[in-house]
Amino acid sequence: MQNIALRPPALVMDLNRLGAGFASRLSFMRTLMRNMIGNDWQIKYSRFDLDNDGYGHVVFDIQTPSSHLSFVVFSQYLAPDERDDRVIADQWDLTMTLMEGDVDELTLAKLAANVPLQEAGRIDARCICLSRANRSARIFNEVLDNLRQGRQPDVQRLAEVGYLYRTTAVYGSGKFGACDWDKVIKQHPDLASPFASEMLVCYLLRQFSIDQLHHLVHQEAYPDAVDMDVDVQRYLGIGNSTGLGMAPWLVNHPQITAQWVLQRETAFARVLSMPATAPKISQLQELMARACQHVREVSTLDAWQANNNRLLLADLENLNDWFNSASTEVQDWQQIHAWAEQHYSLEAQELLINLMLELYPDIVDSLAQNMAIAESLQYDPTESAQRLADAIKHTYDWVFDYNFNDPEQVATFWYYSQNKVEPRLGKVGVDAGAELQMFLGIAKAVQDCHTDLEALLHADLDATVADFLLQYPSHQGIVARIATMSQTTYGEIRANLLEESVLPMHLLRAKLAFFGVSKFDPKSALWVRNTMFQGAPLVSEINTNGFDDWSFPVAPDLAFTPEAASG
C-alpha cells in the first residue's frame, strides 16, 4: 500500500461537511451488528407477558462473550392524543432498560415502578440504558390489519415511514442512576465502544416491534393471519427523533469527535492507497445504484433536504456516467476522489467516501476498535505560555477568521431550559437568558484567550501556563481545551456556534451519521427524524444468516420474493 496523507483538518472538520455525513461501515450500528454476529451473541426472550392488546412486559436475555444482560420492555396503553415525541412528554407507548444480569421478581417490580416514569423515576447502577418509544400508530394499524387479513402490507407505504416505533430518547452514561461509562468499559467489554449500549437498545426495540406486531396478528379472531414477509421485517427499522439535546454533545466532547473522525479518515486514506481494479469499480457502481434507490425512497417535506437529495442523485448519476464513459480511464481511487471533489456536492463527496470504504472491509473494519477514547481535557501548568500561544497559532488559526465585534457573530446563544434541563437556542437581545449561556463559543473563547496571552508574553516571555492562569483564571477551561486538542490530528469542529445563521442540524447529522442512521428528515432547523437499523439482520439471523452488507437499504420487491413466486 502507498502511504496516503490524511485529508486536512481544515477540510474535514468544516461543519458544513460534517453535516453532509452518511452512515458508513465504521458507524456504530454496523459495528455492533458485526460484533453480535462475529461473536455469536445469543438473544432470546426469557419472558413474554403481553396481553391480547399487546400490553405488559417482556424480557430479552442476552449472552455476549463477556456479559449476561437483560433488556426489559414495558408496554402500556397510551391514548392517541397523549402520544407526544417531544422531550416534555411524560407518557409513552413503550419504556425500556438494558441492564446487567437476570431480572428476578423483585427487580422487575422495581423497574416497573420506575422505568415507565423515565426522567421522573430512578434506576440503579445495574442498569446501563434507559429509553422510551412511541408507536407510529397509522402505519402500525395498517400493517396489523393487513396481516390479520392474510395480506402483506403495502411496501411503498412502509417505505414512507420505515418503522413501527420511534424512540424519543436513549439515555446512558450514568443518567438517572444508570451505571457510569467506566463500569461498562471495565465489566462489559462487548459494549465498550461508543454508544454500543444505546445502539443495542434500539436494535432490540426493533425486534420487539416486530414480535409485538405478530403477537397481535395471531389471535383467535383472525384465522387467516400471516406473518410479515421476512424481507419486509428486515426492511423495518426503528424511528428516531433527535433534537437540540444532541447538538452540543460533539462540541462538549471534542476528543471523542476528533477520534471518530480520525478513524474514518484513516480508513479512507487506506482505501485511497489500494488499486482501483475493474471488479472494485463495478462493485462501487452497484453500491452507488443501491444508494441512489435508497435516497429516492427518502420521504421528506423539508425543502432544503429534498434539494440536497436531488443534487445528490444528480451527482451520483453523473459519476456513474463518468465511470461508463469511453473517455474515462480510471487510474486509482485518488483520481476518482479528486473528480468528485471538483464536481460534486458535499453530500455526494462524503457518500462516495463511505461507499469506497464498503469495498475494503479487511483494511477498514479493524479501525472500529479505536473509536473509544478516555476523555480528559488537561493542561500542563509547567508548560511555557509561549508554547500555548504557538498551539493556538498552529491548531486554532481558523478562529481568527471570525470578527466577534460583528454582532452577527455573537447573535445566538445556547442554554439549558429549566423545565427539562435540555439545551435550547436563543437570540441575543430577543430571548432571555443570554447571561446563562453554555460554553459553546469555542472560537471566541480562544480569541479572547490569545489576546490576554499575547499581553502577558509581551511583558514576560518566560511566563508559564500557570503564570498566565494565575493572572487570567477565567481562561482555565479553554486553556485545558487548547492544550489537549492541539495534540490531536483533527482538533475542533471548525464553526462559530454563536453565529446568527448557525445550523444545529449539521451537528445533529454529523453525530447521527457516526451512529449509522439513515433517511434524514429534518422537521425544522432544530430537529430531525431518521431511521435506525433498517435493513439489518433480524435477531433470528444473528446466529444463522448474519450478513454485513445492509447499508443503504431499499424497499423489497415482494413480487419477486421466493414466497410470492411460489404462492
Binding site: R122, D380, S417, L470, S474, I478, K523
Partner: protein, 237 residues
C-alpha cells in the same frame, strides 16, 4: 424522598458543574469542580459534610489565590475560597517554577484539589522536577490531619494520618518528592481502588439533603421556560 440517593459519578459531575455555574464561576472552574467531587467520592475521600462545607465557602468574587511568600516554600492566600475551585492555580504556578513545597492558606476542604493534581501527573510535565511523587496534606472534617500520597504518574499511593500537625485547619500543603510520610497508613492504594470499584458497582450514595441542595443551586444556571423560548428555541422538546 429516601434519606439517601445513589447517583452515578456522571450525575454528580453534572450537578456540581451546574451548581458552580449557577453561582457565577467560569467554565474551567465548573468542569474542574464536577470532576474533583465525583473522583473524591469514588475514592472515599469526602463525605456529604465535606461537600456542604465546600459549597458554603464558595466565593464567586474571588478569582484566584494570591502569592504571599516566595521562599523555599511558596505560600498562597486563597482569600477564603473553597478548594472546590481555583486551588490548583496556586499549586500549578509554584510547580511551574520548580518549587517543592507549596502551602495554600485561608481555604477549606483542601482534599478536593487532589483529582486535579492526579490529572496533571497522568502525563509527564514539562518541568522535570515535577515528575515525582506528591504528598497532599489537609485537615479532615473531623479535625484530624490527613496526607494523600500520589505516585509520579498520578495514581494514589495511600491515605495517611500524619503523626504531627503539618497544616492548620484552613490550609492545604503540597510536597513534591517527599521520601517518606511520617504517619499511619489509613487506606492503602488497593483499599482506595476497591472503594472506587464499589462505587462503579453500586453508585455513589449522597444524602437526600445534599441532592436537594445541588438541585436548587443548579436551577440558577438554567433559563426558565416560556412559550416563546419553547417555540423558537427547542427541537422536538
Amino acid at each position: 424522598m429516601a434519606d439517601s440517593v445513589a447517583l452515578s459519578a456522571n450525575e454528580i459531575k453534572f450537578m456540581i458543574k451546574r451548581s458552580v455555574e449557577g453561582l457565577g464561576f467560569s467554565p474551567g472552574d465548573q468542569l474542574g469542580a464536577g470532576m474533583r467531587v465525583a473522583t473524591c467520592y469514588q475514592y472515599g475521600l469526602v463525605d456529604d459534610k465535606t461537600i456542604h462545607n465546600a459549597l458554603d465557602s464558595l466565593l464567586p468574587d474571588v478569582q484566584a489565590p494570591k502569592v504571599i511568600e516566595h521562599g523555599d516554600e511558596w505560600v498562597f492566600d486563597a482569600q477564603g475560597q473553597s478548594s472546590l475551585v481555583q486551588a490548583e492555580l496556586a499549586f500549578g504556578a509554584a510547580m511551574s517554577h520548580g518549587v517543592m513545597s507549596i502551602r495554600l492558606r485561608n481555604t477549606s476542604q483542601g482534599v478536593l484539589v487532589a483529582p486535579m493534581l492526579m490529572t496533571w501527573l497522568s502525563k509527564p510535565m514539562n518541568q522535570p522536577q515535577m515528575r515525582q511523587d506528591l504528598s497532599l496534606y489537609y485537615v479532615h472534617h473531623d479535625g484530624s490531619q490527613r496526607c494523600l500520597a500520589m505516585t509520579a504518574n498520578g495514581s494514589l499511593l495511600g491515605l495517611y494520618e500524619p503523626h504531627r500537625a503539618v497544616v492548620a485547619e484552613d490550609e492545604v500543603l503540597l510536597r513534591v518528592d517527599e521520601k517518606a510520610i511520617d504517619g499511619n497508613l489509613l487506606e492503602s492504594a488497593s483499599d482506595l481502588i476497591r472503594q472506587r470499584e464499589a462505587c462503579l458497582d453500586k453508585g455513589i450514595s449522597l444524602s437526600a439533603t445534599l441532592v436537594m441542595r445541588l438541585k436548587d443551586l443548579m436551577m440558577d444556571s438554567f433559563v426558565p421556560e416560556s412559550d416563546q423560548s419553547r417555540a423558537s428555541g427547542a427541537g422536538p422538546g
